[in-house]
């Protein structure tokens, strides 16, 4: 994919909110929020993750694809048809927006893994999720000019090269309705600005937007490779999405423990804890030492269950949180929250290494899951 967009150093912007009651709203407000922080980006990347937008296909994995050419599309569609039952396929609707140039071909497929591919003779059956992860890795790594933007159920990532508000208009996000929206404005520093490299980075229904840099990328990448993940998108943030998938979905750790592994307390702090906690955190650091994220970061992680905000352990990147009724907001700047929620019940400065977890209420989560069956 093209990488000739140059390189200019500075920061990034992130913003996200969740209606914990599952109420769905259009993409208009998240565009306004991220647009307020326009000057934190430089036009080399913008993107959104939207949850609850495909209730009519809630049981299917929604594969969002980017293609460099028709040839890439043909090859990838052959690959998909070979492994999945495709319930519906269509180009992702876009509109012409000045400033958005050189868009790849953008398609989406609502698919289920084929039963016969899950149960290969003589092999342990794969879960649908694991099968889909493997397929995404194979496309990103193996099919030239084809990249998966997202692969979760009832969610999608919409990203590209441009300012985030331009990308939002390009993808017509005001026409979608979701219960959670997460956005990113990019200012690439160490890696190229290209369509596949825009945030969010995703796998299944995980999405990650990130301000900062992951200096531990090499260690994290090699660790993830042991579990079958392939980092093919040339950007450090990719590892965060796979680490959440590995630790939460596959290893079953609750969000606070995942965060304690990724942004582990310093040994000095662990030493001061009561014995039981000290032992638990020591074990966590020993088992997941290679999952530790080093370097400055503030991230928002989305999943179908909700949103997690996390800072590095010494708060080298900004993050503010707010609550208003059933809605929780996270953003790089307080003003980006105030822009869409002028009078929150509470606003606070998020602390280093202390996650903000905002999940759907149980009832709303149940409803979101059963949408397709109902």
């Amino acid at each position: 994919m093209q990488e000739n967009y140059g390189r200019i150093p500075s920061g990034c912007a992130i913003s996200g909110f969740i209606n914990r009651d599952g109420r769905r709203v259009s993409g208009e407000s998240i565009i306004q929020s991220i647009a307020l922080m326009h000057d934190r980006s430089n036009g080399l990347g913008g993107g959104f993750a939207a949850y609850g937008i495909y209730p009519q296909f809630a049981e299917e994995y929604a594969l969002h694809l980017m293609y460099d050419s028709e040839r890439s599309r043909e090859e990838c569609e052959h690959f998909i048809a070979d492994r999945f039952t495709v319930r519906h396929a269509e180009p992702i609707p876009t509109r012409h927006v000045p400033g958005i140039e050189d868009a790849p071909l953008l398609w989406r497929y609502f698919v289920r893994p084929r039963e016969d591919r899950l149960h290969l003779p003589g092999r342990r059956p794969l879960s649908e999720d694991d099968f889909t992860v493997a397929a995404v890795m194979a496309i990103n790594e193996g099919i030239e000019g084809a990249y998966v933007a997202s692969s979760g159920k009832n969610m999608g990532a919409f990203k590209g090269v441009g300012f985030p508000e331009e990308i939002g208009r390009f993808y017509r996000l005001e026409e979608y309705e979701g219960y959670m929206w997460i956005a990113h404005g990019r200012f690439p520093t160490n890696t190229p600005g290209w369509w596949g490299g825009a945030h969010p980075f995703t796998i299944l229904d995980w999405s990650v937007v990130h301000n900062g840099e992951i200096s531990s990328y090499g260690i994290n990448k090699r660790y993830l490779e042991m579990f079958g993940y392939r980092c093919a998108l040339q950007t450090d943030t990719e590892v965060v999405a796979y680490l959440f998938d590995l630790l939460e979905r596959r290893h079953g750790l609750p969000f606070p423990l995942v965060c304690a592994a990724l942004a582990a307390p310093f040994w000095q702090e662990i030493d001061e804890l009561p014995e039981e906690e000290r032992e638990a955190l020591t074990a966590l650091r020993q088992v997941y030492g290679s999952a530790l994220l080093n370097g400055p970061f503030s991230i928002i992680v989305g999943s179908r269950r909700g949103m997690v905000g996390l800072n590095d352990r010494i708060k080298l990147r900004p993050m503010v949180a707010a609550v208003s009724g059933d809605t929780v907001y996270l953003a790089s700047e307080e003003s980006a929250i105030i822009e869409i929620c002028p009078q929150p019940d509470r606003v606070w400065l998020v602390r280093a290494g202390e996650p903000v977890v905002a999940e759907l209420y149980a009832q709303a989560a149940e409803k979101a899951r059963n949408k397709g069956a109902a």
């Binding site: 307020l36 900004p318 503010v320 700047e333 003003s335 105030i338 606003v347």
Partner: protein, 244 residues
């Protein structure tokens, strides 16, 4: 007096209008519906009064030389960055890296402040910056501080620690006053706790008196609690670095 409705206005436009008004002799400005506009007060080198309603953006009053800014709302990161003179009063909390490299003037914050507050503050002769936070401060408060006065009051802090870890790490000038006791594990290796002298109390009364009148607080109530004084125990740690 000039009122500007800043809703939806880019920071460049807003700052251009402020500078033009000041150049034309305006001495009192009211900025309404401010939200996220950066660098307010930057490059305004006159003793004007600016009232801000809303949330001003990052680097409020950066390099400022003269104006007094009163914010009715919360502040963001980087307020008073390398400020030279004047005053900023924030009637709410404020973010990280406040008063970075501040070399004069005053920053008065009513509520909590974030990480790295007062980092690299410095003083020269009569140029003595003063930074006062009414709530708590997080890690790296006064890190590498080279001069000036940093006061943390911890009002209404409940069980929260007054300051976070690494307070005063690398500090080699100036003084910090923390209202209440500080757990030694929060302190950097380059600072020491000293008893307050009469002149410290006089200094606190002077600066906190102004702080209290800016924010409508009771000075006697604040002075009723004992303070912890922190001073550097090294001076010019890098003095010989390039002199061998």
């Amino acid at each position: 007096m000039l009122k500007i409705d800043a809703r939806g206005m880019h920071y460049r436009e807003l700052n251009r209008r402020i500078k033009e008004a000041v150049a034309a002799g305006e001495r009192e400005l009211i900025l309404e519906n401010v939200n996220g506009q950066r660098y307010l007060g930057t490059g305004v080198n006159a003793p004007v009064r600016i009232e801000v309603y809303g949330v001003p953006g990052n680097d409020l009053g950066a390099f400022m030389d003269g104006p007094s800014i009163f914010v009715c709302g919360n502040g963001q990161d980087g307020a008073a960055n390398t400020m030279n003179s004047g005053k900023i009063v924030i009637r709410g909390h404020a973010g990280d890296v406040l008063g970075y490299g501040m070399r004069g003037g005053k920053l008065h914050i009513l509520g909590d402040v974030g990480y790295r507050v007062g980092i690299h503050m410095k003083a020269y002769k009569k140029q003595i910056p003063v930074l006062i936070a009414g709530g708590t401060a997080r890690d790296f408060c006064g890190e590498y501080m080279a001069g000036g006065i940093l006061i943390v009051l911890g009002l209404e802090r409940g069980q929260q620690p007054l300051v976070g870890d690494y307070c005063g790490t690398g500090m080699h000038g100036g003084v910090m006053y923390l209202r209440g006791e500080v757990d030694p594990r929060h302190l950097g290796r380059e600072v020491a706790v000293r008893p307050l002298e009469e002149e410290d109390l006089a200094l606190l009364r002077e600066h906190l008196g102004e702080y209290c009148s800016d924010l409508g607080l009771d000075l006697e109530e604040i002075m009723a609690e004992p303070f912890t004084k922190l001073v550097p125990v090294s001076s010019r740690p890098y003095g010989n670095l390039y002199a061998y």
